[in-house]
Structures are given as structure tokens and as C-alpha cells.
């Protein structure tokens, strides 16, 4: 009795088809004209067209959405990593007054529903004049991304033996030199994974980014949910826009495939 015999490729196959079918349908639609989408029904585009993508890349109303989203996501990743790295080091190496409470408090912010924060954030960022800027969304998303980064990084850092720190200090390294020259290269994969997860959770979030922007920093999610025009919904362009939001994930997913579970489980797998 071989344990491999328990595994059925058919189950995996069906599951993957179930996952891919809706995405395939979106992809299929993005290559069709609106006339074809509404008129005929086919598994493949009859008249293959890139028109929908051309529309997105030439209309500032569309492509600015991607640029805006990218901007706040990148700012957010940089802020989150910059503050989370030293904090995660502290949590993984030292005990100090209130460390457990602080660690728990961080977790509650990862779990907090954005809906609770939408209204106060709107007022807070309006009152300090950041409403409708990249900074508002980037800072708002630190609410869940900083706790996430601290937790994931701490999970990676605890895997590095403490003797390395001590040896480096004995050899005369200062804290900053040690951290930059020795410690960061050791947890490079952890930093990469954390950056990926910050990127992703900021990229997929809709409610806060939509509430905190109106015109200048409007995110792609907000653009997509407001596409109903006088002539109805432009399905082809909407499908193309959806496909383009999936692309960043596809580009990097291969490199983090072995750490996906770890990232989602806050570094605890």
C-alpha cells in the first residue's frame, strides 16, 4: 500500500478547473468587442481584438487608476518595512515592558474591519489635508500592513540563531552595521516575502482606498466600481481592467510559492 495511491490527480484537476474557469471567462471577454459580448456566446473570441486594452492604456481615466494604486502601494510597502524591521527584531530578541500586550494590540489591528475605520479615516485625513493623496491611502493601509509585517518578519527572525548577533557584537560591529551587513542578508527571503504580502494586501483592498480618494489619487478599484456610464457598462473594458489587476500577482507568485502559507498565517507555519 503506497501512500501515493491515496492521491487522486482527478480531484486536483477538477479543483483547478473550478478556480480557472471564471478567470478564463474574464480573459476571454477582455479580447472581445462589446457587440460580440452582448450579441453572441462563445468560448473563444470570434474576432480577437486588443481594443479594450488599448482603451485602458490610452485613456488617462483608466491608466491613472493603475498609476495611483501602484504609487500608494509602493509608499505603503516602504513605510511598513522600514518601521517593522527594527520592531520585529526587538520582538524576536528581547523581552521588555508590555511586549506581549503590544504584540497582541498589533494583531487586533490586522483583524480590524476596514469598515469601522472608513469614517474616522475620512475625517482624520480630511482634517490634516491629506484627503485624495497617495499618502492618505498609504498611511491608512499601514493599519493592517505594519502589524502583518511585524508578525511575518518576527517569524523569520526567530529562525536566526542568537549566537550570530552576539558574535557580531563581540567582533565590534555596531548595531546598525550588524543589522545592515549581517542580519538583513540572512533574512533576505523573509523581507521579500513580507514586501510581497504588504504589496498584495494593499493592492487588493477596496473600501479604504475608495473612501480616501476622489479624483487625483483615485485607485483602480474605485475606477472599476464607478464605470457605469450613460450607455451602460462597458463590459469589455471592465474585463480587461480586471485582468490587468491580476497581472502583478501572477508576475511574482512563482518566487514566493513556498512562503504563501507562511505569509497568510502571519509567519506562523
Amino acid at each position: 500500500m503506497n501512500k501515493k495511491s491515496y492521491k487522486s490527480p482527478i480531484v486536483m484537476f477538477i479543483y483547478i478547473v473550478f478556480l480557472m474557469l471564471p478567470i478564463y471567462w474574464l480573459l476571454n471577454m477582455s479580447f472581445k468587442t462589446n457587440v460580440e459580448i452582448l450579441g453572441t456566446f462563445s468560448m473563444f473570441p470570434n474576432k480577437f481584438t486588443l481594443h479594450n486594452y488599448v482603451t485602458i492604456f490610452t485613456d488617462p481615466g483608466w491608466y491613472m487608476g493603475y498609476i495611483n494604486s501602484m504609487s500608494y502601494v509602493v509608499i505603503n510597502v516602504i513605510i511598513s518595512l522600514a518601521v517593522a524591521l527594527p520592531a520585529a527584531y526587538a520582538f524576536s530578541r528581547y523581552t521588555f515592558m508590555g511586549d506581549k500586550h503590544l504584540f497582541f494590540w498589533l494583531l487586533t489591528n490586522r483583524m480590524a474591519p476596514p469598515a469601522v475605520f472608513a469614517l474616522p479615516f475620512f475625517q482624520l485625513y480630511s482634517s490634516i489635508g491629506l484627503f485624495d493623496t497617495y499618502w492618505a491611502v498609504a498611511l491608512a493601509h499601514t493599519l493592517f500592513n505594519v502589524p502583518l509585517s511585524v508578525w511575518i518578519l518576527e517569524g523569520f527572525m526567530r529562525g536566526v540563531p542568537k549566537e550570530i548577533d552576539e558574535t557580531a557584537y563581540i567582533d565590534g560591529y555596531s548595531f546598525f552595521k550588524f543589522f545592515r551587513k549581517i542580519f538583513m542578508p540572512l533574512i533576505a527571503s523573509g523581507i521579500g516575502v513580507t514586501a510581497f504580502f504588504c504589496f498584495m494586501f494593499s493592492w487588493v483592498e477596496l473600501l479604504l482606498s475608495r473612501t480616501l480618494t476622489s479624483v487625483n489619487a483615485k485607485s483602480i478599484g474605485a475606477t472599476m466600481t464607478r464605470t457605469v456610464s450613460a450607455t451602460g457598462i462597458d463590459w469589455g473594458v471592465l474585463a480587461a481592467a480586471g485582468i490587468l489587476t491580476i497581472v502583478p500577482g501572477i508576475l511574482v507568485i512563482y518566487f514566493v510559492r513556498n512562503h504563501i502559507a507562511k505569509g497568510f498565517a502571519l509567519g506562523r507555519v
Binding site: K3, P113, V116, E205, W235, V269
Partner: protein
């Protein structure tokens, strides 16, 4: 790892502390402030004590949203957890196909939540969607925009599509950590498939499974974007979950007092579950990495 006591470590944590205090404490103070006051505009506020809390606790609207939310979360967990475990057991262990499956099943997790809504909005439509069209041509009544049952089924299927992979990935990670010797011992004992699962696999992945369940519970409890795009809370109010209801109240009608009281009670539930989560995490940490 035994840690040393070092109060100076606070300086390393300080940036995080200040940043999170800025984006969590200030907003929460605003909410608390509004929850005990009433306003007639012009920034004139009057103290109303706990009136808003009483109103919300007794309001039909909150009860219904909470009921719908509880029902959705229960259904989702009941489907996704066994299904996820089942898929994880069928994942290839190593080699090219393992990587391939990992990448492909993780894909739905990386799609923006509003796009998930859009995908299913299109997929389920009778005129242009594959699912809707197929069902219609088989003569099945299905219209998620008008029929309550259809809307619910679509949302549940959408969530299963979106999030089962998370449970699969976590359980798979747990299964990977089981040494081959365990399986060999089971083979010698001629253990049945069920007992291998019950006495080897399940205990070994119980830690990660618990994390997965709690994460799914929390995330489904704050679901907003997907149903918002798909059904907008309708038909009627039948898919208005807690977050949608709260956003309507706070940003749609701008009822600051009731919305804040609502927020605080919502947040309290979250706090409670977070605490359970934290306890689980720390007990797993003590036992050693899974």
C-alpha cells in the same frame, strides 16, 4: 529561544508604536467620541450617554445584519474547511506538479477583492456569463440580482472560490511537516486510510488548521468588497452584511452617532476573536514551530 530583558528595545518598537497609534488610536477615539454624542450639524454636539448603544442593540436592522453575517460565516466555514482539507490531502507532495498546483491555487488569493466581485458578476449573468448562460440553457431559474436564494448561492460559491485555497495552502504546509517515518509505521500497522488521517495527519495539522479557521472567520466577518460589487447588498437587504450595513450608515447616511456605536460593538467582537487567535498562536509558538 530564550530572550534577554532589555528595556531599550522599546526604541526599536517606537516607530511602529507611533505609526499604529496614529492610524488606530486617533480614529478609535473619534468613534468613541461620536458614539456618546448627538449633533444637529454646525459642529454642535450634545452628550447623549449610552443612548446610541441602546438604540443599536435593540435595532431590527443590526439584528438582521448580524444574523445574515453569522449565517454566511457559518456556511462558509462549514464548506471551506472540509473541502480545503480534502484538496490539501490530494495535493502532490513534491516535484514540478507540486509547484504548479501551489502557484495556480494561490491565484484567486491575489486578485483584488472588487475584481473577484466583478468576475462573478460577469460569470453569473444570464446574457454574458458562462455560468448564468449554462444554467439558463438547462432551464434552471437563476438570477442573482433578483432572487434571494440565487444571490446567496452566488456569494457562497464566490467565497469558496476565493478563499478555499487559503485553507488548502495552510493544511498543505502542515502536512508537509509530517516525517515519512510516520506513514511507514502506519503501513506496518496496516492502518486504514481513515486512521492515518485521524491519528497522524489531523493531529499534526491541527495547529495550522486552527489558524486557518480563525483567519477565515475574521476575514469573512469583515467581508465588504465582493458582495458590494456583486449584489450591492441586495436584492432588498438580503445580502447586506455587517460591513456593508455599517458603511451605508456611516458614509451613506452620515448617521455619526449610531454608526459609531455600531462600530464599537463590531470592534468588540473582533477584539474577542483576536484574543482567541493570539492565545492559539502563542501556545503554538511554545510547542515549537509547526
Amino acid at each position: 529561544m530564550n530572550k534577554t530583558v532589555n528595556q531599550k528595545a522599546w526604541f526599536l518598537v517606537l516607530p511602529v508604536f507611533l505609526l499604529v497609534a496614529f492610524s488606530a488610536v486617533i480614529p478609535l477615539m473619534t468613534v468613541i467620541n461620536y458614539s456618546v454624542q448627538d449633533t444637529f450639524g454646525n459642529n454642535v454636539f450634545s452628550w447623549v450617554g449610552l443612548d446610541w448603544f441602546e438604540e443599536i442593540i435593540h435595532s431590527q436592522r443590526m439584528h438582521e445584519s448580524l444574523g445574515r453575517q453569522a449565517m454566511l460565516t457559518t456556511i462558509i466555514l462549514l464548506i471551506e474547511v472540509p473541502f480545503g482539507i480534502f484538496i490539501a490531502l490530494n495535493m502532490p507532495k513534491k516535484g514540478f506538479w507540486a509547484s504548479f498546483c501551489l502557484v495556480v491555487i494561490a491565484l484567486p488569493l491575489l486578485i483584488p477583492w472588487n475584481v473577484v466581485g466583478t468576475i462573478w458578476q460577469i460569470f453569473g449573468r444570464k446574457d454574458i456569463g458562462l455560468l448564468g448562460h449554462t444554467l439558463a440553457s438547462m432551464g434552471i431559474e437563476y438570477n442573482y440580482a433578483q432572487d434571494v436564494l440565487s444571490a446567496w448561492i452566488t456569494i457562497v460559491v464566490m467565497d469558496v472560490w476565493h478563499w478555499t485555497s487559503l485553507i488548502v495552502l495552510l493544511c498543505y504546509a502542515g502536512l508537509q511537516s509530517i516525517p515519512d517515518a510516520y506513514y511507514q509505521a502506519a503501513k506496518i500497522d496496516q492502518a486504514s486510510r481513515w486512521s492515518v488521517f485521524r491519528y497522524i495527519e489531523l493531529p499534526k495539522m491541527s495547529g495550522v488548521l486552527l489558524i486557518a479557521i480563525l483567519l477565515r472567520f475574521m476575514d469573512s466577518f469583515m467581508i465588504y468588497s465582493e458582495p458590494f460589487v456583486l449584489t450591492g447588498g441586495g436584492p432588498g437587504n438580503s445580502t447586506t452584511f455587517l460591513s456593508i450595513d455599517l458603511v451605508n450608515m456611516a458614509l451613506g447616511q452620515f448617521d455619526l452617532g449610531p454608526a459609531s456605536a455600531y462600530s464599537l460593538m463590531y470592534f468588540l467582537v473582533v477584539l474577542l476573536v483576536s484574543w482567541v487567535f493570539f492565545t492559539v498562536m502563542t501556545s503554538i509558538d511554545k510547542k515549537g514551530a509547526v
